[in-house]
């Protein structure tokens, strides 16, 4: 038996309780003191309702786009060799490494009407919901790539060869054999990208324009309510965010568990 169990476990629980459980308990207590009726009442305030709808709608859309391009990127990185592949592979983690505020002002500069992209497209991107969407795509991409990539590189090449010997052409092989096998990983990546997008603040806030009822995201409303010392409304928005996220993630997890069960393999 190794020594130090009591000390290590005791300190771990103490620190965990102090730093994580206590703060989260505050949210739970505050939510409980509001009660569901009051929370729904606050959430049905048009401004808050629209912010929540915007956050969730755009997060789902961005996660969907990331699922498509993340898959394509993971495919490129695992299946093809080209000069600079390792560099590209490392670059995928840029959104993890770049502080969100830095990404935020950079995106705002690029997509503003006088920016590199903003000046060549005929419509407005920055300071509209489209700008928020762009920022959410930016921060969500690595989640999909990094969950699909290892599964794709561990995929048994025999599966694709078997499909070919059975007469399937390449497209059929990819759509009927490879992609269904990747589904659980793709769903996990989608869920992670979505969850991150819903709570994202720093990279969105500069490009969003933050126009009430139009381009105001839910996390911004939390900050605004806190600054007005309206802790109740802030907590209500946070609770709604958590509840809705939980519902979406539960759904994704169910689909994922279902496809995992069929595959009979834990990835």
């Amino acid at each position: 038996m190794l020594p130090g169990f009591g000390l290590a476990l005791g300190f771990s629980w103490f620190y965990l309780t102090l730093m994580i459980l206590l703060p989260l308990a505050a949210v739970v207590l505050w939510t409980a003191s509001l009660g569901p009726a009051r929370i729904l009442q606050i959430a049905s305030d048009p401004r808050i309702f629209l912010a929540l709808r915007l956050s969730f709608g755009l997060s789902l859309a961005a996660a969907a786009v990331n699922a498509v391009f993340g898959l394509l990127l993971a495919w490129t990185l695992t299946r093809y060799d080209f000069p600079g592949r390792r560099l590209v592979d490392a670059a995928v983690d840029l959104p993890f490494a770049l502080p969100t505020a830095v990404a935020g002002i950079a995106l705002a500069a690029i997509y503003a009407p006088n920016g590199w992209v903003g000046s060549i497209v005929p419509f407005k991107i920055a300071f509209t919901p489209l700008g928020i969407f762009v920022a959410l795509v930016f921060i969500g991409l690595p989640f999909v790539v990094r969950t699909v990539q290892p599964v794709l590189s561990d995929l048994d090449q025999g599966l694709e060869e078997a499909a070919a010997t059975l007469g399937a052409n390449r497209a059929t092989t990819i759509f009927k054999v490879v992609l269904p096998t990747l589904t659980p990983a793709l769903l996990t990546g989608f869920a992670l990208a979505f969850a991150r997008a819903v709570g994202e603040y720093g990279s969105v806030i500069f490009i969003a324009g933050n126009i009430p009822y139009v381009s105001e995201i839910a996390p911004l409303l939390i900050i605004m309510r806190l600054e007005e010392f309206d802790y109740g409304s802030a907590t209500a928005v946070a609770t709604m965010m958590l509840t809705l996220s939980f519902a979406v993630l539960l759904f994704v997890n169910l689909v994922e568990a279902w496809s995992r069960k069929r595959l009979g393999h834990a990835y």
Partner: protein, 350 residues
């Protein structure tokens, strides 16, 4: 369908994976490709299927050169070593896959597919498992599904890569007999790869032995075992010992003493004599080649003796009857009943 492999060559870098391999397989035959790992046997199988390109040579399906054909065009049933079953499809859909992916013009009606798959499930003795997923099957069951899936496309050729490699010993033996039965029932020209000589000798009509990308010998199991064509085949199949000798004018010499085995063929010079334990008999001291029993041990119904012979005290293994009264340290005379002599510097030596 006949399969003819003509002067096939495949290079991996500087090292030839297949070196001028030629092999004719008759319609309906069951042939084993046998060799140690790295011998090129799997490469040859994959080249036949079109999963691997070749650098030179011809692969004839019947009378047509199939080298330029894609995998899909070759219409071969391939059973992968780890089965490569599609995990997201039920057993039924796995077997039906090859029929469902056909062009509309060649695709059977769904009812016909159903009939065909049901028939195949019966053939492989898994009629009740159509709705299972591969993850819910045992290794032996997966094997059978993989075979049924390969047979569904009515292949011109059935190719199996280490078909029993991933199974445990008992299941392996059962499936081996069963595969032979299926082959005899369906009559497909079948080629399978194995590194297990017992499997090859028991199952195949003919065995092709490969070593370092070269075909060593093709023949019936009896040919391979009793009349090995090269020193490699001699030592790879069954137990054997080898003894350095000298050949001079049709006589075999050990340390300048003539081995009393009659005249031998082959060029003068250094050579090696290969012999199996059961082809050695013991005689009285003074008769035959002189040796000393270094070690005796029980081996099933017989005993095995390691006998030191010659000035170099080379050890050769002999099988001796259990009742023979000898013990370790005894001097004995040895008679070589059957053996083979291969010149030492020959390209085929190992």
């Amino acid at each position: 369908m006949d399969l003819k492999i003509r002067h096939v060559r495949k290079d991996y870098g500087v090292f030839p994976a297949l070196n001028d391999v030629s092999l004719d397989i008759r319609s309906g035959e069951l042939v084993a490709l046998l060799g140690p790992s790295g011998s090129g046997k799997t490469t040859l199988l994959r080249a036949i299927a079109g999963l691997e390109t070749i650098d030179d040579g011809e692969i004839l399906f019947g009378d047509e050169d199939a080298v330029g054909w894609s995998v899909q065009e070759r219409n071969v049933g391939f059973v992968f070593q780890h089965y490569a079953l599609f995990r997201h499809m039920k057993v039924f859909d796995n077997i039906a896959f090859g029929l469902r992916v056909r062009d509309r013009s060649r695709r059977p009606a769904e009812a016909d597919i159903r009939k065909k798959v049901t028939g195949l499930l019966e053939l492989v003795q898994l009629p009740d498992l159509a709705n299972r997923y591969p993850a819910q099957l045992s290794g032996g069951q997966r094997q059978r599904v993989a075979l049924a899936r390969a047979l569904a496309i009515e292949p011109q050729l059935l190719l199996l890569d280490e078909p029993f490699g991933a199974l445990d010993a008992q299941v392996r033996k059962d499936l081996r007999r069963w595969l032979r039965q299926i082959h005899d029932e369906t009559g497909h020209t079948t080629v399978f790869v194995t590194h297990d000589q017992e499997e090859a000798l028991e199952l195949a009509d003919r065995v092709a032995v490969l070593h370092k990308g070269k075909l060593q010998q093709v023949g019936t199991p009896d040919d391979i075992y009793d009349r090995p064509a090269t020193p490699f085949v001699y030592s790879f199949i069954g137990d054997s010992s080898s003894l350095p000798i000298h050949v001079r004018k049709g006589e075999a010499l050990l340390d300048q003493t003539v081995i009393p085995v009659g005249s031998v063929s082959g060029p003068d010079g250094e050579a090696r004599l290969h012999i199996r334990p059961q082809d050695i008999s013991l005689q009285a001291v003074g008769q035959g080649v002189q040796g000393r029993i270094a070690l005796l041990r029980r081996n099933g119904a017989f005993r095995r003796a390691d006998i030191e012979i010659g000035a170099d005290r080379t050890l050769i293994e002999a099988q001796i009857p259990p009742h023979l009264e000898v013990s370790e340290g005894d001097q004995v005379g040895i008679h070589f009943e059957r053996f083979a002599i291969y010149p030492s510097g020959s390209r085929q030596s190992i």
